[in-house]
Amino acid sequence: MSDASINTQAKAAHGDAEFGDYFALLKPRVMSLVVFTAAVGLLAAPGSVHPFVAFCAILFIAVGGGASGALNMWYDADIDRVMARTKKRPIPAGTVSEGEAFAIGIALSGFSVVMLGLAANWVAAALLAFTIFFYVVIYTMWLKRWTPQNIVIGGAAGAFPPMIGWAVVTGGISIESLLMFTLTFMWTPPHFWALCLFMKSDYKDAGVPMLHVTHGRRVTRNHILVYTLLLAVVAIGMAFTGVGGPIYLTTALILNGLFVAGAISIWRRDEEVSEADGYKREKAFFALSLLYLFLHFGAILAEATLAPYGYGGW
């Protein structure tokens, strides 16, 4: 046993995790995406809320997203211990116990939903509660270990925040908020499968039926292309709704042109070619996917911000 493992076990035994260890349970990087997309949904919605209420609503949505991350880490601790990518998470590292993660997840889930209901409205709170339920129960407990389509259906959990932000202002659901949901929902599979192609992950050892493990990399490349084409239809179609406009349309046309070209390039390659250049195209596609979502929501935000000055929208 190494000194490092003795040290981490000692920390866990005494329950002396640092504050940062508890914060890491909330998956801060995922939270940043949640905050951004929820803020865009809130700002693009017709109507307005008090800036302090808007700030609090975004905060509670972020806390709700973090709570579901903590519950995910609690349930998936066995998988996280096996996989190299997740071994350093607080539970496998021994800094936070499974019981603590569960308690924090449950407490923050209840807290965020109730506080969002009190601060904004109960439609937004119900959507947040459903998002937490979907991520923890439907994705983490059920789909993740059962079907290679786990990331497709589970991606819905990450797609709800703009809908919640929209509901904070309007108190309801509309075609625009559903399209913002669909944009993130359709974006998740090609984004994640591209990562799977170049990351030498150990899903097989962990017993997680990811598409590239169960059906092979050729099928994964085909799926990336199909989902990217469907995504392009949704993304460009959004330009002609209430949240779209010339800025969004220009952004969507350029980004979807690049994204479809990237997906075709990945589809035309095989493993030998990819390995030879160190998965250069797959890595570039993954990097573009991050920019893709950020710029699409950025364009929606630009349309909403410029609309009062007569520049945004149609």
Binding site: E18, F19, F23, H50, F52, V53, M115, L118, A119
Partner: protein, 55 residues
């Protein structure tokens, strides 16, 4: 002269306690701020209050 040796464990606990304290203080500020916003906007006023004021 210090009677108690400062251990790495104490630093860790201090950081955690400080973090919890900041979270609790932030929560108080949020609840207070939300209350001020809701009350000044009249979210919790009875419907007839404005009618009575108008008379």
């Amino acid at each position: 002269m210090s009677f108690r040796e400062e251990h790495e464990l104490h630093k860790r606990r201090f950081g955690r306690n400080l973090g919890v304290a900041l979270v609790l203080v932030s929560f108080i500020v949020i609840v207070f701020g939300l209350t001020v916003v809701k009350v000044t906007r009249g979210d919790y006023e009875p419907e007839n209050a404005s009618i009575q004021r108008g008379q």
